[in-house]
Homo-oligomer: 329 residues x 2
Amino acid sequence: MKRFFQKTLVIALLFICTHAPTAMADDPLPSWNSGPSKDAIVRFVKSVSAEGSAQFVAPSARIAVFDNDGTLWAEQPMYFQLAFALDRVRTLAPEHPEWKDRQPFKAAIEGDLKTVMAGGEHALLELVMATHAGNTVAEFSQAVENWLATARHPKTGRPYTAMVYQPMLELLDYLRANGFKNYIVSGGGIEFMRVFTEDVYGIPPEQVVGSSIKTKFEFRDGKPVLVRLPEIHFIDDKAGKPVGINQHIGRRPIAAFGNSDGDLRMLQWVAAGSGARFCLYVHHTDAEREWAYDRNSSIGGLDKGLDEAGRNGWTIVDMKHDWRRIFPK
Amino acid sequence: MKRFFQKTLVIALLFICTHAPTAMADDPLPSWNSGPSKDAIVRFVKSVSAEGSAQFVAPSARIAVFDNDGTLWAEQPMYFQLAFALDRVRTLAPEHPEWKDRQPFKAAIEGDLKTVMAGGEHALLELVMATHAGNTVAEFSQAVENWLATARHPKTGRPYTAMVYQPMLELLDYLRANGFKNYIVSGGGIEFMRVFTEDVYGIPPEQVVGSSIKTKFEFRDGKPVLVRLPEIHFIDDKAGKPVGINQHIGRRPIAAFGNSDGDLRMLQWVAAGSGARFCLYVHHTDAEREWAYDRNSSIGGLDKGLDEAGRNGWTIVDMKHDWRRIFPK
């Protein structure tokens, strides 16, 4: 009897002490329908994390990188950070009377997205600099936080942070439970994303890689601050993604998740390493529950990447068929 | 009796399962002599990590930043990375016959450090670019690894990685055992340091912040590579240190360790946060076992920082008296 109690206790305590996958629910990916995508994910994770597996990877090297826009949260009808920039133009407009006669600010104030977009990259850059620079890092974070708390998606009426993909949240959890360190590697602003990634994705600020403007250390009222300058520091997109990964992580991840041609260089970089590798594209195929777009989309276009994924046997998630639900309840 | 066994078992298993400081040897800092520096470190660590402490800090926010040269390893008679650059000029010289008539290369080949240094920052930059750029990230890492395996310190004859400070290695371990995440934030090259920081300090590549040159993604023989360009990307020194911290970590550390005026902005940035803070300067006071230098040294000068540390009650390590031993056995 004594032995029985001891044994039960040992098992119970080991259960509490370890974070092995056995401690998770039976299906760690309940929002994924059965099929080749889900199978490929589970097969890969088991192959690198099971002791004694021929493809075993030490936990410290289990690094996974995720694009954000269109991969972890939606990106239609416009990148959410652009929605923030447009809203912020309206917020700041009273301090800038000159904006009401000057493009692209006039169009932004009037909510005329078409004219804003017609201005091309130059117009967007001008909007970003006017709305993202000139304040301190702490002030900017506060502005993003305030916006996220009140802004609503134009189609669903949800907060933007509720426009994340439930199956991807489960995937992040599943990887973490198997010893992975998840990073975001996005073309979006690093300081914009860091405001919500820990709460929403469980990804702390130091695991976020993104585009950035320059900052400058100075003293204001005797206190050190970091001031955001209207100057590009780094664009973390396309061929910039492997550069950003190397800069921040300093070693090659073993798994990469994206949804557009902007992620192709990242997936190629990850795929080219030795040992077990996993590359996955989220393909937006669900016009009803989300959006359907790929080769010809101006946002999140997926053309060359789709061909390359096919050639290399990367996993292509068919959102409509592979995902039981899209957004969290 | 059964209860006694259960209780013993519970205690034994909890001991194994937790990584509490109680699981360490009695003195986690055996190379530190008793005194105010050691007391201040232990007091701070206990105050932020003990449950129920008024100054308790959640483990995820227990971030400590360390300068490298002169703080974790020695920096005399020249920065070790400069020794690497000079050795590499000699290694590459056969491919560059033009160097033997051109300064600063001629002086570097002849081992004439005085002439190299007389060329000032411009000469050093030229040497760094010629020896650090033009190859891929993987090739550069290999070159550093080869150098570290064979190069010896001119005074002690030790490998450079054996010129680390034993008391600081214990401090890194002590912090880690108490839930801290340790980062290096150094003016040294990020790719240079990453080659040895995990083995030597237990600090993985993703927790290294440093100066960098630009890199470019391209294909060579159908394989993606990152090529190192002869162009500065970021200088992680002085006011650049808080900028680098913000860029890589994205939140303010609670403890900072340095040894020179180059670290002052980092220490000020950390000190200006709210809640418990710890700032420490290593003061090189031991001419016999290491080197003695501060206000007037051209390498690792500590002048304004020493005054500021005194004013703010930061911990100043007196190497000669506070450290029982300097280098590992």
